[in-house]
């Protein structure tokens, strides 16, 4: 369980997050949605200790993320940001191997090699394993990073806009793979996501943010209502039932 307790963060005088309280239960996929500047990525960064909150506490499995040793936390929780600047020239396999660092501190054993092969296989990257990252397309590279995160084998997986750079086909397959990771491997997946229809179809819980506050939290059926979404996004949105799914129409 991730408990977000009274988190605030401000830059100079503007609040990016204001007294945020929320609980993300174990298991399933939770999507964080909201307009630009709502504080979604900031919240994800604070949960994953990439940013320090000005006030409040985040607890993951009752561990305070700000004070728990980083290497211990790395075996409970993994996070992937949207921008990954890298200077090293790494192969896909080498990158995925870094997922084992919290356990092995660099020396890979046969069990690690098996897990690396599994993660590569899970994201259909086996044929690219010896390619360098800069030789891959944006989508393949994104999958390679997700494979590293899965190889880290943590209970909680936090992803900041994992569908960025992905086309329709790869977006769908990424969401299916995350769904599979949640259902088969029992991971708790938390996503920041812009496309509310992906959030509607694939998540178990939606957390909606606006102006630095959590304004709604509930199942997709609760949140995918025209009145609620219009309040969050300040734009006319209609909900249609398509193939048994709530789909927002806002074009």
């Amino acid at each position: 369980m991730i408990e977000i307790d009274n988190i605030s963060k401000q830059y100079q005088t503007t609040f990016v997050l204001k007294n945020v309280n929320a609980t993300i239960t174990k298991g399933g996929i939770t999507s964080i949605i909201g307009p630009n500047g709502a504080g979604k990525s900031t919240l994800l960064s604070i949960i994953s200790r990439l940013l320090i909150a000005d006030e409040g506490v985040v607890r993951v499995n009752n561990l305070d993320v700000a004070t728990t040793p980083s290497d211990k936390l790395a075996t409970y929780l993994s996070v992937l940001r949207q921008e990954n600047r890298y200077t090293s020239r790494l192969t896909v396999q080498e990158l995925v191997g870094f997922g084992r660092y919290p356990y092995t501190k660099g020396r890979l054993n046969s069990d690690d090699h098996r897990r690396i092969a599994e993660a590569l296989d899970y994201l259909n990257l086996t044929e690219f394993k010896d390619r360098f990252l800069d030789e891959l397309s944006g989508g393949q590279r994104q999958r390679a990073y997700v494979a590293m995160i899965l190889c880290q084998d943590t209970e909680y997986v936090l992803l900041d806009e994992p569908l960025n750079n992905l086309d329709m086909k790869h977006s769908v397959s990424m969401m299916k793979q995350l769904r599979k990771a949640a259902d088969e491997l029992g991971k708790t997946v938390v996503l920041v996501i812009h496309d509310i229809n992906f959030a509607s179809v694939y998540s178990d819980t939606i957390l909606a943010m606006k102006k630095g506050e959590v304004v709604y939290q509930g199942t997709p059926d609760d949140i995918m209502r025209s009145s609620i979404l219009e309040d969050i996004f300040d734009t006319p949105i209609k909900i249609e039932q398509v193939c048994g799914q709530n789909i927002a129409v806002y074009y």
């Binding site: 980083s70 211990k72 075996t75 996070v79 020239r89 870094f98 660092y101 020396r107």
Partner: protein, 323 residues
């Protein structure tokens, strides 16, 4: 044809190849033109050789670590002003302590004091820069160059106010030469460099993770702030050794680190660190041998290395612009 063959070699084999090349350079350097008092010449050359090996190690390790922690292949400790800062500290020490006749603490004692000051000042000045301003390379580079200029101008000012005898002490330190280091200082440097080498070899896997960038490093359980502090301290010590021994070498580190990235065929620090070190030995020892004995131009090695390194720096900057 030869390059073709190298490109098929694995990283450990490339390392062995470089090690053999470096050993050849050392052998030639020690044995070429042996005339007159052989014992005297050999002892003299051994000290110079040891100094060059130390400088190669310091330049390679400090630059690689600095570039790993800043995630950037253009910045070096020298360009960011750490080297001018050390020269300023040395100048200030000569200006205020040597001239006042405060109890003389010996070369090694003075070196340790100056290095400690460098560590403290560089932690104070650069730690914030690493953790906050990383997004904008040009801004960081400009801050570094401005700091470097500030330190250099301040050193210049003090040097002008000195008595000629004091200036003579400092003069040997502001131009790179391989001949003036004191044996006691060299021995002390060897000990410190070996200690630093052991520490950084134990951290080699952590450097690989840090090279993935701050966010990924924290995700994988690295305590980022502590790693940055440790690396800055190591870099400061290495810069202090190299500058105290031979004077400022602005572009040597940049040159060998960037060559190591392309030659080692790996981004793992267990290959990068030795590769850059061996390249440094080949450049310095081989270069000194060729210049001194074949071209009869002793004392010009720093100029040649700086010239090539400076060209590489301009090339890297231009490449970055077009990217």
């Amino acid at each position: 044809m030869q390059i073709e063959q190298i490109s098929h070699l694995s990283s450990p084999k490339r390392l062995i190849f470089l090690a053999i090349l470096a050993l050849c350079c050392i052998l030639f350097f020690m044995t070429i033109n042996l005339k007159g008092n052989i014992h005297y010449i050999l002892v003299d050359r051994s000290w110079i050789l040891l100094t060059m090996i130390l400088v190669a190690f310091c330049a390679a390790a400090s630059t690689l670590l600095f570039q790993t922690v800043t995630n950037n292949r253009i910045l070096t400790p020298a360009l960011m002003g750490i080297e001018p800062l050390f020269i300023l500290i040395q100048t200030v020490v000569v200006f205020f302590i040597d001239s006042q006749g405060i109890p003389f603490i010996g070369t090694i004692g003075k070196f340790i004091c100056e290095s400690t000051l460098l560590i403290l000042f560089s932690l104070f000045l650069y730690r914030g820069l690493f953790t906050r301003l990383k997004q904008n390379l040009y801004l960081v580079l400009m801050i570094g160059i401005i700091l470097g200029t500030l330190f250099r101008s301040f050193s210049n000012l003090l040097q002008r106010l000195m008595t000629p005898s004091e200036f003579a002490i400092i003069q040997s330190r502001i131009f790179a030469t391989f001949t003036q280091a004191e044996p006691a200082l060299i021995i002390a440097s060897v000990v410190i460099a070996i200690a630093a080498g052991i520490i950084l070899w134990r951290m080699r896997f952590r450097f690989d993770v840090l090279a993935l960038g701050r966010d990924n490093a924290i995700n994988l359980g690295i305590s980022y702030r502590r790693s940055v502090t440790t690396i800055l301290m190591l870099v400061s010590i290495l810069v202090a050794i190299s500058t105290a021994l031979v004077g400022p070498f602005t572009f040597l580190g940049l040159l060998i680190a960037n060559l190591a990235y392309s030659i080692s065929g790996s981004s793992q620090h267990r290959y990068l660190l030795p590769t850059a070190f061996l390249l440094g030995v080949i450049f310095l020892v081989g270069g000194q041998m060729v210049l001194q004995h074949l071209l009869n131009m002793s004392g010009t090695l720093p100029i040649v290395v700086e010239f090539i390194g400076g060209l590489l720096f301009i090339f890297l900057l231009l490449k970055k612009v077009t990217m």
